[in-house]
Symmetry: C2
Subunit: 172 residues, 2 copies
Amino acid sequence: MSTGQSSNGQLSIGPGDGTEDGDALALGRQLCFAVYSAAHAFNRVYKPLLERFGLTYPQYLVLLCLWQRDRRTVKGIGEELRLDSGTLSPLLKRLEAAGFVSRTRDAGDERQVIITLTPKGTGLKPEAFGILTEIGKACGCSLEEAAVLRTALGELHRNLDENLPTRSGGQR
Amino acid sequence: MSTGQSSNGQLSIGPGDGTEDGDALALGRQLCFAVYSAAHAFNRVYKPLLERFGLTYPQYLVLLCLWQRDRRTVKGIGEELRLDSGTLSPLLKRLEAAGFVSRTRDAGDERQVIITLTPKGTGLKPEAFGILTEIGKACGCSLEEAAVLRTALGELHRNLDENLPTRSGGQR
DNA sequence: CATAATTTAATTGTGCGCAATACAATTTTG
DNA sequence: CAAAATTGTATTGCGCACAATTAAATTATG
């Protein structure tokens, strides 16, 4: 990014800063926003495609989980998607209200709620699965490029997770 | 996995070719979730760092904008961050309530609201700017790797924008 | 001048996303 | 068995994020 843009620009880090800190600064600034902004861009493409099914992207993610393997607990879905019950509980109720899934308590352990696809939910798969293809095309990149990008994002994700206060990086 | 690693570099969009559709499917599935999930991971790292200033990440982004160039309209900030007024208006009011910015109508065009840093908001910069450095370190990758990733994400973002329904092309 | 079209912010409604909390069922422990 | 700790889910509160709508000011037009 360089110092550029100095219309009013107080962008410079400060005199005498070490190069490594400056690098980390530029990195943190640009990389996080690039990810944040790309996520929004994805959502803007997804939204009109999912709209005709009355789905949102997180709801679609849950259905993708269930199409892969049906009959899962709330916790299991949350672990795969990295979402907690505060997000999933109302989401799953909306999916239930829309008739795509059913929520039943496990007979063995009644604390657990088992999420199951309804016939309507299962029947949605052939139609809605194609949305992934449209998204893939909208990315406008080759499979190889995407694989590189995905691998890099995965590694980044792991690195970030290691800095969570509850795991190893404990500053609060 | 059903889709082998085919060696054709480009995605074929034409109808009737199943194999490339399978590639696009895998691509759309994996790439979007990787971005979505990495954005959450970033936020989880940012949250404890910003907490001591009482800021959220989008609020921090607005302050970064203003530290770069002060006295900006809501629309100008929204264009840079790709957020609309429905998001920014309440956010800016919270920043004002916290004493970091002031909101005043432009004298020339009273439709526009000018956002200005207060002394408290300006004074926050030296302390809070360092968060970017911490984030950069948390990424755990080199500047070169980050640059590659950022460039790829930027290109991806542009490609996605071209697929927006109401917008046939760039023009942003 | 008056009216219409345009531009810009703010408001409203719905749905994530997560922390904190509550609660019920299960497991552990004495 | 009863009490305590743990586990899984639901609830609440706050803050994004965006579509749709509203309101106000500016500009264009007759």
